[in-house]
Amino acid sequence: MRKAFAGLWKTSGYFRFGIVSLAFAIFMIIMSFFSPFKPMESFAVTPDLPPSFAHLFGTNSRGQDLFWQMTFALRNSLMFGVMTAVLSRIIAIWVGMYAGYKGGLFDKVAMAVNDSFVIMPVLPILLLLNFLLRDKMNWFYMALMMAVLGWAYDARLIRAQVLSLKERVFSDTAVFCGMPTRRIIFKEHMPYVMPIIFATTINNLLWSIGMEVTLSILGLTNINKASIGVVIFWANQHQAMISGIWWWLAAPVGVTVFVFTGLYLLSVALNEYIDPRTRLRMKGGAV
């Protein structure tokens, strides 16, 4: 593990950038616990101050310090993303692995439903849901909804992998040795599926945060709870751009770009690492 980390750090610029931005995100999350202000406490500081040493990201028209607000916003958004990713992973892994391994009727039905979910337009359905449930919505329900709408494509990828694993000799050996299906799936096949799960997790995380931001900008989430989208929502409400308070938008936009790009590049670097051909090249061997 430590060796892999050192190797990646030395050879991959993507990995270095990813780790730096991950460290930044963790730093922000930790800082949120030491914030001198409550997340949405307004008129705690002088409003509309540009970024300075006293206020790193400036302050907004509601008299909130944007740096401290962003610490909460990033924490909530990331937590929401992780929650969605974990929940949708549960569905995707279960459906993908069982459909791939069992085949037959279960596979046919699951894949028909799956195909439908792959092309189903998620945004209008989310709009409708949030529109009606606005007051009752909380992070968990929203994560659950996103998970139900966002598992399909990843399940398909996992199933494809399992289909090819099923044909390998070791699967037959396991079956003839009397290994129960559940153990074959989770003990024998899981390790091969892990890289796919890992790569799709980061994509799903970014996707769900993106959706949350979209819904928040439209004012369809709880706008009194800090998140990246909610900060942008309030900036739009106060027409920050027209009054020239560009840092109100720059803070959430900058943080989003930095963290999103970092996490994505991290996944690219790790994917490359998982590919044995790259690892060979890193060790200086021929490809």
Binding site: P121, L127, L132, T214, L249, F260
Partner: protein, 342 residues
């Protein structure tokens, strides 16, 4: 039985399969949109009534009861859930999405048809442009993967890829409307111009929609480029490509005919899917730049709590997505001779 018979039979089966899939998606999607509001603890009629009661006007209980009755009828909330479901489908097949509330009594379908051209114009053109540029660059980058410039292109694409399109819209807005004010901030065309097919209007539209279009193209190119590069770098190590290279086939022919043509197939499917998402619009981009398309329409519907309009937009995009995926699936055999044959 001649070859032609077999071919048409197989093709018919393929069409039927795709058609069945399309119908299934529409069925599931519409059923979900039907059940969401009915299972939700909030009733759109009651919310509307509460909103009205907040005003200064004094309203009699009888009037409210009549209003509730009328609204229930309008929203199709009368009768048992089974009856409602049936009448929901009946309305769907008649293309009747009910009247809009905030633009009463104009029907929802009319509002949607009016916003549609803007969204299609903006998203269709940007999707196609970014697909073309992305695949071309991705193909070249994959083929010349040892060159220096491909590293930079790849780096740029990787940095752009994860950023949501609306974040790009905000960045462009800040840079080109405020820091270097060369582009207008809102509206799809200059104020005072009349909509029409004349040069002045078209130029105005182009100028006003340049930034939103650019934000969509930039994010799109990144994704297509990376996908294409990965596909090409897989195909490049295939035996037939190596053989063609050893055989001294022209490099351009190898890239164009041997590699790109094969790599394009999954990208065409992807294009179909992304064209489908056109129907819900690039919501935030439209809303940020004030383009009167589907996205702005949804936003207005949310602001005014226009339940039938929201339902209309959802239903419309579900049908739009499934149909456009179907169309691409049916066109697919043209691009892939293997599908054509089996």
């Amino acid at each position: 039985m001649s070859i032609r018979d077999v071919f048409s039979k197989v093709f018919l089966k393929y069409i039927m399969q795709r058609l069945g899939q399309c119908v299934l998606v529409i069925f599931i999607g519409i059923t979900i949109t039907f059940f969401i509001p009915r299972l939700a603890p909030t009733n759109p009629v009651e919310i509307k009534i509460n909103q009205m009661m907040n005003g200064p006007a004094k309203i009699y209980p009888e009037a409210i009861a009549a209003f509730r009755e009328a609204m229930n009828d309008l929203y199709g909330l009368k009768g048992t859930i089974g009856e409602q479901y049936l009448s929901f489908w009946k309305r769907f097949f008649h293309g009747d999405l009910g009247p809009s509330i905030f633009a009463y009594p104009r029907p929802v379908s009319e509002l949607i048809w009016r916003s549609m051209p803007w969204t299609i114009g903006l998203l269709l053109s940007t999707s196609l442009i970014s697909w073309l540029i992305g695949n071309l660059l991705g193909g070249l980058a994959g083929y010349h993967s040892d060159k220096r410039w491909t590293k930079w292109v790849e780096l740029a694409a990787n940095c752009v890829r994860p950023i949501p399109y609306y974040i790009f819209a905000f960045i462009l807005l800040v840079v080109f409307c405020f820091l270097i004010p060369i582009f207008p901030t809102t509206d799809a065309y200059a104020r005072g111009l009349k909509e029409g097919w004349n040069l002045q209007f078209m130029l105005s539209v182009l100028y006003h929609t340049f930034l939103p279009a650019l934000s969509l193209v930039l994010t799109g190119v990144g994704a297509w480029l990376l996908g294409m590069r990965a596909l090409v770098s897989n195909i490049i190590s295939e035996d037939y490509v190596q053989y063609a290279e050893v055989g001294g086939v022209n490099k351009k022919t190898i890239l164009g005919q041997y590699i790109m043509r094969n790599a394009l197939l999954p990208q065409i499917t992807g294009l179909g899917m992304s064209l489908g998402s056109i129907f819900s619009g690039a919501l935030i981009t439209e809303f940020v730049f004030g383009i009167p398309g589907m996205g702005t329409l949804s936003y207005k519907a949310i602001l005014n709590f226009d339940y039938s309009l929201i339902m209309g937009v959802s239903i419309f995009s579900i049908v739009g997505v499934s149909v456009s995926v179907l169309v691409v699936d049916l066109l697919y055999p043209i691009f892939d001779p293997r599908v054509r044959l089996n």
